[in-house]
C-alpha cells in the first residue's frame, strides 16, 4: 500500500515525465506490476493450502454442504462489475475529468463494500452452520484464503475512499492520474484473484 501511493521519482521528477528513465516507464508502475507478480505467489500458496486441505473436514461440514452458489455468484458478479467502474475511473482520470473520476471511485468503493458485506454475511452464516475458524482444516484454510482476499478488498476500498478525499482536497502528491491508475491495478488484481477463487474453490467441488 505504501508504495501504491508513493510518488517517489527522485532524480526523475514526475513533472519531467518518465522519459528520463531507462525504459521510459514510470517507476511506480513498474513497482506495482512487480508487486502484483509477487502477490501471485502469496495467493498461490494460500490456494494450494486450501486445495490440499479442502477434503479434510473432520466432523465439520464439507464445502458443498455450506457453499451457497447463487449468493456467491452474485457477489462475484458484483466484484467483476466493480472492475468496470474502476476502469472507468482510471479512464476519466486520464482525461482529467475530475467529476467522473470521483464518481466512479465512489461507486467502485460502494460495490466493493457490498462485496465485503456479503463476505461478512457469508462468514457469519457459515459460523452458524457449524463451520468456525478452527472447526476443520477445510474451514481454517477456507477462512484464511477468503479472509486474505477480503482484507485485500478492504484495503482497496480504504485506498479508494481516501484517494477520493485526497483528490477533493487536492492533496495527492505527484501525478493524479497515475495514482488512480495504480489503485486501479491493485483493484483489478483483487478481482482476478476472486475470479480464480470463485472457480477453484466454489464451483469445483472438493
Amino acid at each position: 500500500m505504501w508504495f501504491t501511493l508513493d510518488n517517489l521519482a527522485t532524480a526523475h521528477d514526475t513533472h519531467e515525465g518518465a522519459a528520463h528513465s531507462s525504459t521510459g516507464l514510470s517507476n511506480v508502475k513498474l513497482g506495482m506490476w512487480l508487486f502484483l507478480g509477487t502477490e501471485c505467489l502469496l495467493f498461490g500458496g494460500l490456494i494450494s493450502t486450501y486445495m490440499l486441505y479442502r477434503g479434510r473436514v473432520g466432523t465439520g461440514p464439507r464445502p458443498s454442504q455450506v457453499f451457497d452458489i447463487p449468493f456467491t455468484s452474485v457477489s462475484s458478479f458484483v466484484l467483476l462489475m466493480s472492475s468496470l467502474t474502476m476502469v472507468l475511473a482510471v479512464s476519466a482520470a486520464h482525461k482529467r475529468d475530475d467529476r467522473s473520476t470521483n464518481l466512479w471511485l465512489v461507486i467502485t468503493a460502494l460495490l466493493g463494500t457490498t462485496f465485503v458485506g456479503g463476505q461478512v454475511y457469508e462468514f457469519t452464516a457459515f459460523y452458524n452452520e457449524g463451520m468456525g475458524f478452527s472447526t476443520s482444516l477445510f474451514s481454517s484454510s477456507f477462512f484464511v484464503l477468503t479472509g486474505f482476499h477480503g482484507v485485500h478488498v478492504t484495503v482497496g476500498i480504504i485506498m479508494l475512499l481516501a484517494l477520493r478525499g485526497m483528490l477533493k482536497n487536492n492533496k495527492v502528491p505527484g501525478s493524479r492520474s497515475e495514482t488512480v491508475e495504480m489503485i486501479g491495478l491493485y483493484w483489478h488484481f483483487v478481482d482476478i484473484v476472486w475470479i480464480i477463487i470463485f472457480t477453484l474453490i466454489y464451483l469445483i467441488p472438493a
Partner: protein, 102 residues
Amino acid sequence: MNTTSATDSHATEHGLSTIGYVRIALILAAITGLEVSTYYVDFGRLFLPALLIMMVIKFVMVVSYFMHLKFDNKVFSWLFYTGLFLAVGVYCAALATFKFFG
C-alpha cells in the same frame, strides 16, 4: 490500440473507449453466467476443463483490457506473468508430490 512504444506508455488515450470497456464487462458477465450454469446443468466430462478455460479467459481479459496489459509496455507483462507462471508451476509441482492430481 498500438501505443506500445515506450514513450507513449503514458499517453492518456491508450486503452479502450468507455463503450469498449462496457463491452468487455458484458462479455465477462456472460462468461460468469455460463460458469454459474455449470452448477445447474450437468456438463459431464467437460465440466472441469470448461470451467478452467472460462476462468482463464476471464482472467486474461481483465488483465489485458482492464489492466491495460495488452496496450502497455511488455516489461509489465513480463514482470507480472513471471510471478504468475512461477506460482502456477511451483505450486502445481508441490501439489503433485501430494498426489493431488490423481
